[in-house]
């Protein structure tokens, strides 16, 4: 996997929303941003995280699998495209099935909207809008070698864990080089700390010190 792709590093994100604005400028969905920027612990921390489509490889595109109208195309380069407007019936299956919370839906237009890694740009060899405008490198487009030349202490992971399920993706997260070989946690199961539900750091059966917690 992984030729030129998006590498995401929430540790570098300053929540400036440049990626959101840049995405909105894209001619193929002008005025609508397909990228999400979330404040992961709003009110307690300024930490933020950009979310683009991770282009799931295994299982291949759950959003496409649960689509009853066969509307989501996956091109041979592994890009999971937005729903074909001719076919999309606006059922929102993809929205609620995506474990990363990526697709949006316009219920009036009966149309799903999602990041397609700026296909109009990337097919020409250009970087996606979000990575082009990101001032801190929280969104980086290129090869792993290019990323590591820029950030010697980093490596990446495209392996995620949602409860007992592992998902590999086409886009990847930046992780510290000394991190052991564990998947990136998806946030489930929740762990309850002082009566407050917090994201779990791994599956109950996962090896390593971070498992456990009360399942949601």
């Amino acid at each position: 996997m992984m030729g030129r792709t998006l590498f995401i590093d929430p540790g570098r994100c300053i929540g400036c929303q440049a990626c959101v604005s840049g995405c909105r400028e894209c001619d193929s969905h002008r005025g609508k941003s397909m990228i999400h920027l979330d404040y992961t612990d709003e009110g307690r921390s300024v930490a933020s995280q950009p979310t683009v489509c991770m282009h799931c490889e295994d299982p291949v595109a759950p959003c496409a699998e649960v689509c009853p109208a066969e509307a989501i195309l996956i091109t041979p380069d592994g890009v999971v495209h937005e729903a074909d407007p001719t076919r999309c019936i606006g059922c929102a299956n993809c929205v609620n099935a995506c474990p990363f919370g990526v697709p949006k839906i316009d219920l009036e237009a009966k149309l799903q909207l999602k990041c397609n890694m700026c296909y109009d740009r990337t097919e020409l060899g250009l970087a996606p809008m979000c990575a082009t405008v990101c001032p801190t490198g929280a969104l980086f487009y290129g090869t792993l070698e290019e990323l590591q030349a820029d950030r010697p202490g980093a490596t990446v992971s495209n392996w995620f864990e949602f409860g007992d399920v592992r998902i590999t993706t086409g886009a990847a997260m930046v992780v510290p080089r000394d991190r052991d070989d564990r998947p990136v946690p998806g946030g489930l199961p929740l762990v309850s700390v002082n009566g407050r539900d917090l994201p779990g750091a791994g599956a109950t059966r996962a090896p390593g010190p971070a498992g456990g917690g009360a399942a949601a």
Binding site: A47, Q49, H81, Y119, V165, R179, V184, L190
Partner: protein, 345 residues
Amino acid sequence: MVDRRRLRQRAALVGALVSLVLVLAIVLGSRGLRDFDSALLPYAVATVFLAFGVAYRYTVWVSEPAAWRLFRKGLSSAFSAESFRRAPTALPRMIATYLGFQKFLGARSHARWAAHQLIFWGCLLAAAITFPLTWGWFTFTASSATGPGYEMRLWGFKLFGFSSSSVLGWAMFHGLDLAAVLVIGGVGYFLWRRYHDRAATTGQRFAYDFLPLLALLTISVTGLLLTFSEIFLHGGGYEFLAVLHMVSVVFTLVYLPFGKFFHIVQRPAAVGMQLFKFNSRKAGEQLFTCKRCGTEIDTVPAVENLRGTMRDLGLGFDAWAEYCPRCKRELRGGAYLTDVKRGFK
């Protein structure tokens, strides 16, 4: 999981049965082929292939886990006596707004809505005229030897009479020309868009996006040229044009189930899906809310349907569907900053 080989066999069987029913309907409707116009034979044969292709493709499509679940839910919603009592106009209203006037397209773009309406009504008019004609169901007979009276018959039974020199008569004999004008208007806009709108040009494919438009354009233009040849050229080039027209129609009908045109057959699923959700809301059922933040996600049956679909597909993270997209992202982000890149919180 679906056994692909058995599925293809079942789909072929359904296709063959539907084709057989159509052949029988052609024979019976044309009164034992007495009203069948042999000059239209290639068109009739193409419709039999079309019936096979649509039934085959439809069977394969609805057999997929997600479509199959929605298919059953949509049908049971459409035929539910209880929901009919609660909202008797819901189904016809949805059919009119989604399938007829395609209101959702207006929310995407007014220009696309207008162009699509031109193509839709043009194709519908053309199909309503040509399909029964090629099957020998419609016949036009002279009321008298001297004219200008004509009678239109369906399955041999007289529907109504009209004068061929009246406005109605002109419209009856030029219905396909009118349809062609509508279609050319719509296709012209969509072809323009395929060259100028980045939303359309991104990832477009010739066979999927251009071919259907070119097929409709060829049918419409060659159809209009037949009338042109008849009126202005005294039939010059008519036979060549007739063959060209026939080839373009036959190709389009056979191609219909396998390309972009399949949305014509698929789109009613939108009505089933909408009715499935509407019934639940109309019954006053509580909506499914995010387990973390309480945001409305969807109707309870819709979420259960999705979770069932995910389990059918072996996607073992269906419990995640109980959280709204934003909470999913926040939880993942929180986990990343807690477990992966500590100290950046």
